[in-house]
């Protein structure tokens, strides 16, 4: 292990050296995006903290008022657990922003319980332990990293057993909770730059397409989300125009309603 670490460090130094002496060849100034349509890979769904980081740069945010640790209902339906799991991981990122150690630890345990409920608990146990340890040390960077690893491990475990749809629901739950918090912050302290962070039409289309491919999940909340995304689409798919305050408020109302639906029983 020590040898490996030494090797990795040496490699990293070598790569850093490469970066200093290497330059990119001239890339074309413009490409035809339409020609790429057949070779485009799926989006990687951004983590909530990617959006929260950008939001932080626009001004101080009182993250404590967005921390949520209530236990919520417990579910047996796997799609509902997956959605809730994504939401709870997003709550973890909010708690990290607020630097709220007890909340982070509580959320870490909740993630573990939900992961067990969906049959992927084994892959999460070491991460839940690491989250608790890092929260005790108030090492927020490590908590962030472990939350990312947690989501990744959950989704990899699901993909390995061909539960890709559940994996997508974890991403959707996280995105909805992240959007709920983002719109709540921007509604309270509106700025055009804050509202611009909602400009995510391709991501929304990605989720719409995925939901359309899940007819086998007869879960009312999924239909509710599907219908709500149709309402959200025109509010964020505005091209080069700014997203107005009223739209931000509307999206917050919608995502708050969906968020309540995800954590409570039908």
């Amino acid at each position: 292990m020590l040898l490996f670490t030494k090797h990795l460090k040496l490699s990293a130094i070598a790569v850093a050296g490469l970066a200093l002496c290497a330059h990119a060849a001239q890339a074309p100034q413009r490409i035809d995006i339409k020609q790429l349509s057949k070779t485009v890979e799926d989006v990687v769904v951004p983590l909530p903290n990617e959006i929260f980081g950008a939001l932080n740069k626009l001004g101080a945010v009182n993250w404590k008022e967005h921390v949520r640790t209530d236990k919520g209902a417990s579910f047996t339906e796997r799609p509902r657990i997956a959605l809730l799991l994504g939401t709870v991981i997003a709550d973890g990122f909010v708690a990290v922003q607020a630097e709220d150690a007890p909340a982070v630890k509580e959320i870490g345990q909740k993630v573990l319980t939900l992961a067990k409920g969906i049959g992927v608990g084994n892959s999460i146990t070491p991460h839940a332990k690491a989250i608790t340890e890092a929260a005790d040390k108030r090492d927020w960077e490590s908590v962030r990293q472990e939350l990312d690893r947690t989501q990744n491990s959950v989704q990899q475990a699901m993909n390995e057993v061909h539960d890709e749809k559940l994996s997508q629901l974890v991403s959707l739950g996280g995105w909805l909770r992240g959007t709920e918090v983002l719109t709540s912050v921007v509604t309270k302290h509106f700025s055009p730059d804050g509202a611009e962070l909602l400009h995510q039409p391709d991501l929304l289309s990605y989720f719409q397409t995925r939901l359309e491919r899940m007819p086998e999940y007869k879960v009312p909340i999924l239909h509710e989300i599907q219908e709500a995304l149709v309402d959200v689409k025109p509010l964020i798919d505005v091209g080069n125009r700014p997203i107005p305050r009223e739209s931000v408020k509307k999206i917050n109302d919608i995502t708050t309603r969906l968020g309540n639906g995800i954590v409570t029983r039908d």
């Binding site: 485009v40 890979e41 989006v43 990617e50 950008a54 611009e196 391709d202």
Partner: protein
């Protein structure tokens, strides 16, 4: 060598060959990811958070792949591309949704590593174009990771 010894020796050789085949056939995108992460390592010290998620696949010489990615104004991003094929030449570039080159000029490429840097002027979809410019292999595995701060 006894007949039994010969059979045993043959089986050991066969198993070793199968093991080698498995390594080359299945471990390569993971290997490519290891190299992409190696390229990212120095940037972590500069405060970049490297995502656990990544894209990967294989391309022939001269082939390109586009990856669509949501970027947020206010953040700064690096994308790192790696392959396990040491003599391959790869590149990565960033374009906005109109197809206009959006990256900063400090991107770099060196053999089986390449990187591109962007501070997005607007929030929205961007295209990350990965390319195997040249490679001694028929198909070259690649992996792309990204980090932000």
């Amino acid at each position: 060598m006894t007949p039994f010894g010969k059979i045993l020796f043959g089986q050991v050789i066969l198993l070793a060959m199968l093991g080698l085949f498995r390594l080359t056939a299945f471990a390569s995108v993971d290997d490519a990811q290891t190299f992409a992460l190696q390229a990212a390592e120095p940037y972590v010290k500069q405060g970049f958070q490297v995502r656990e998620d990544y894209w990967g696949g294989d391309l022939g010489s001269g082939e390109k792949k586009a990856v669509r990615q949501q970027l947020f104004k206010g953040n700064e991003y690096w994308f790192w591309l790696g392959t396990e094929v040491e003599r391959a030449k790869i590149s990565v570039h960033i374009y906005d949704s109109d197809g206009k080159l959006a990256e900063d000029p400090d991107g770099w490429e060196k053999g089986h590593f390449a990187a591109a840097h962007v501070i997005p002027k607007t929030t929205g979809s961007y295209f990350i174009i990965v390319s195997v410019e040249d490679s001694p292999e028929e198909r070259t595995h690649w992996a792309l990771v990204y980090g932000f701060r």
